[in-house]
Amino acid sequence: MDKRYTLMLLRKMIGEDKHFRPGQWEAIEAIAIKKQRALVVQRTGWGKSLVYFLATKLLREQGSGPTILISPLLSLMRNQIVMAEKIGIRAFTINSANRAAWSAIEAALAKDECDLILISPERLNNAHFIKEVLPKISGRIGLFVVDEAHCISDWGHDFRPDYRRIVRIVQMLPEGVPILGTTATANDRVVEDVKVQLGPGLTVLRGPLARESLRLQNIQLSNQSERLAWLAENLPKFKGSGIVYCLTVADTERVTNWLKQKGFSAEAYHAGNDENLDRPELEQAFLKNEIKILVATVALGMGFDKPDIDFVIHFQRPGSVVAYYQQVGRAGRAVEKSYGILLSGIEDDQIQNYFIESAFPSLQVTQNLLEVLEQSEGLSLYEILAKVNTSKSMAEKALKLLEVDGAVGQTYDKKVLYFRTPNAWHPDIERSNRVQNLRKSELAQMQAYVDHDGCLMQFLLNALDDPHATACGRCANCRGRGLPTEVAQKLVIEAENFLKSDHIVIQPRKQWPVGLFPDQKRNIPLEYKNNAGLSLCYYGDAGWGNLVRSGKYYDNHFSDELVKASVHLICDIWQPDPFPSWVTAIPSTRHPNLVPDFARRLAGHLRVPFYSVIRRIREAPEQKTMQNGFMQARNVINTIQIDQRVSQEPVLLVDDIIDSGWTLTMAGYLLKKQGNGQVYPFTLAQATSRNANG
């Protein structure tokens, strides 16, 4: 009876001819009828949202309270909400981005007119949520859904500290509240761990993870130029739309520029710092196939559900087999034939190792942070950064971990303040070592996948302990053929030239670091602000990046090739107007002549004079050891001095590598304060590691 009724509901949602997929009814029965705790391990696209919508419906009809769905997703997809509405399920999201809708949602909750509410794990610790939203449902949580439940486990590929909070809450929930955990990517060890943490009564429902339509292939092309060429040559072979995954924001932009130049409909998608990038808009355009290729970082992740993706190509290698399975699994949900191509290159290990090393804040940073907090009643993030030499993102990471550990709390007094709680805190070095080692072994497993000559799908499924794993008969290894693994030399040269001419804009800083000039406004006044500038390349990249590296660390001399490339970039591409009428450079104490020497030669080619007016007045710690804006800016103004006013004419301000940009910002400020003209920053390279993620 229940099953027939539920099937009727399911058909209302997705169509009269539809049936339960294997496992769906069992999951619904476990939670909505037997009121059990269940963990569902099913591939993405299997229909877990159907399970929690239908279970919510059944529970609500029994008089239960609304479902709380905890998910790292920002929101439900529009089409899921429409689907739920067909059986009268009213679903809402509360997140920091939809503040304007909160009061309407809270009113709906108060009138019991909300059946499902989606929140992020962070929100469970949010004072407004606890004090205003939760009381509206009078605590009647009908069903507690933990999406991406593998995040609970240290052994998962995507451990999230906030999930530890979920575990503590679940352990305090009374037995009568059903719990549903869902994941598409849990191996046996993760399932066991989740079982231990969510309670022994957990029913595990596991389905086959293979994707019937997906054709996998691995292609090794070490140089970026070869991979760019490969893309240009092979992308036209796909009829439909697809995703090209990159590891860094910079790479998504570069690949996009190349593809656009080659006439493709491509857009970059990432969570980096770009005001012009509207992610929901890009998602919509991609869903409607108005964009053919989305070049994305992992920011295009969980929950993005487009059924007709023809291909997922990895420009760089992900850090784990599980992450790869998840990303490549976005292809072919509702198309007969789809492709998952993994390109890998020489830079991959370097980027992945950076990710691994920066995954946890160091003990030193964490302890410094606690010490600073212990001396106060509460500090804002910026007040902390003025006292602790660490990057903003690292400080945020450390604060998040400390919050989950109960050592730090948040309060709000016009701005968010962090404070030390009276709870004891002990560093869990074992845990961070364990996670780091796990990441390293995942990386090794990923490399094994790249080198694997047997069935690729089977390799992925074995890694996920899928008992149903067999050879797929579709991948390039099973079939003995696939897309070409070599590219036309002409195209490679073209890509190389593209990389060499691909320059990077230096956006001038608009605001001082918080607290640097406490008595001034945050905005840098126009008269002290730099103009936009350019960098020749990304440090260490193919193209010019390797020349910059060897110039800086081996030869102590930047080659004439770099001078010529810079001249070409400045005169033929950039053409700043008004053109700079003199050049100056930022000297370093360790290599006092390296940059001025380069700048002098550059000035000669530009046919303008070089004046050495910036002087180091004292030995300064290397700028790259300064971990945040406040420290960096202070380090600059404390150690450099502008000797004289040269001219009110515009100046080209040269440095070798730009990282956070504070050196150039502060030097430009000092130049202009001396009465000099407009400042155009120019650097040979832009550092990439710090904004690699996102």
């Binding site: 309270g65 709380i68 469970l124 610790n125 004072a127 606890i130 004090k131 205003e132 939760l134 009381p135 509206k136 449902i137 009078s138 605590g139 009647r140 949580i141 507690f144 909070r165 503590r168 809450i169 679940v170 305090m172 929930l173 009374p174 509240v177 212990e374 001396q375 106060s376 009643e377 509460g378 919050e403 989950v404 109960g406 709390g409 309060t411 404070f419 030390r420 709680t421 009276p422 709870n423 004891a424």
Partner: protein
């Protein structure tokens, strides 16, 4: 922390956790809960039993009206959001004690009987609650003699191993408390408001961390200051201590006066009042009503405060009676 099912039931019924102030179903007051508690005792049941009952069963077991049963059933449904709020509080360093907990201070049950608060929120060492000690009370504004007295008693407690009990507010409270903590003693602050805020204070935090301080309140940890809560918590200071010393009181008005006269009337413990030529009129009137004199200049030795208090008061204390009430 694991919550016993009895405590879970009490929290659901009697605390504001997971309820908005505008909620139709307000938590049970002491007056609402006590008859139910007695009913449960009379049929040899514990509060946990309520967790598994539906409206009809609640109505029959507790012999209450339909509306009352509905209210209780509704309150009992919020276990989900209480779990979330408790997790949040614990991550800030705040825990709960209910009248059904073994660790709930016996003195409250003995002295306050069924007006002992059902729920206490606390941060710090709960074992301090009800240890031998001296309560210091008085208005926020102190003259020189008052300040010296507050400091003396604080130091004396610290040096002789007595717990210093106070209201954790400014003035006499913080002076005596800091004196106790600075002389390596222990203290309990019984707050009328803002427990969440009080534990952010670095000195409090450190003392809690060392295990020397417990801050406790019967009100919501985020409750703002109000005159009502300040009055309501006064008796919770007196009823934890062995002796009370009133440093300064207004006459016939104000919280200190109300609290002290109540303590004198209830005979929970010997009440002393600071006695000197320039003392406030309230002090004098409290002595007229039976409070003992605490002289200024003060007794000589810090170490002997307890002996001195014992010698200068007679056993006028009401018989404690232990109630097994939850």
């Amino acid at each position: 922390m694991t919550l016993s099912p009895d405590s879970q039931a009490l929290l659901l019924l009697c605390s504001h956790l997971g309820l908005s102030s505008s909620s139709e179903n307000s938590p049970l007051t002491l007056k609402d809960w006590n008859p139910l508690a007695k009913k449960l005792l009379s049929i040899s049941k514990r509060p946990a039993i309520l967790l598994d009952l539906n409206k009809e069963e609640l109505k029959n077991m507790l012999e209450i009206t339909e509306e009352e049963a509905e209210r209780i059933a509704h309150l009992l449904q919020r276990s989900g959001s209480i779990a979330i709020e408790l997790e949040h509080l614990q991550s800030l360093g705040i825990d709960v004690l209910t009248r059904a907990d073994e660790d709930y201070p016996t003195r409250y049950k003995e002295r306050l009987k069924d007006s002992a608060p059902t729920i206490l929120f606390y941060a710090g060492e709960k074992a301090l609650l009800g240890q031998p000690g001296v309560a210091v009370v008085g208005s926020r504004h102190l003259d020189e003699a008052g300040q010296a007295c507050a400091e003396f008693v604080g130091n004396a407690c610290g040096m002789s191993g007595l717990v210093l009990y106070s209201g954790g507010a400014k003035g006499v409270d913080s002076i005596s408390m800091n004196a106790a903590l600075n002389s390596r003693g222990t203290a309990v602050g019984i707050l009328a408001d803002s427990l969440e805020k009080a534990i952010r204070n670095p000195e409090n935090r450190e003392a809690i961390y060392r295990g020397d301080l417990c801050l406790v309140t019967q009100y919501s940890p985020s409750a703002p200051f109000s005159v009502g809560t300040a009055m309501g918590r006064n008796k919770l200071i007196y009823t934890l201590a062995d002796y009370a010393i009133v440093v300064a009181s207004d006459a016939e008005k104000g919280g200190t006066w109300a609290g002290a006269t109540e303590a004198l009337k209830s005979r929970w413990l010997p009440v002393f009042v600071l006695y000197h030529p320039d003392m406030p009129k309230g002090n004098k009137m409290l002595i007229e009503r039976g409070a003992y004199k605490f002289p200024h200049p003060l007794p000589n030795s810090h170490q002997e405060l307890q002996t001195w208090l014992e010698e200068h008061s007679s056993a006028t204390i009401a018989d404690p009676c232990q109630l097994s009430l939850f």
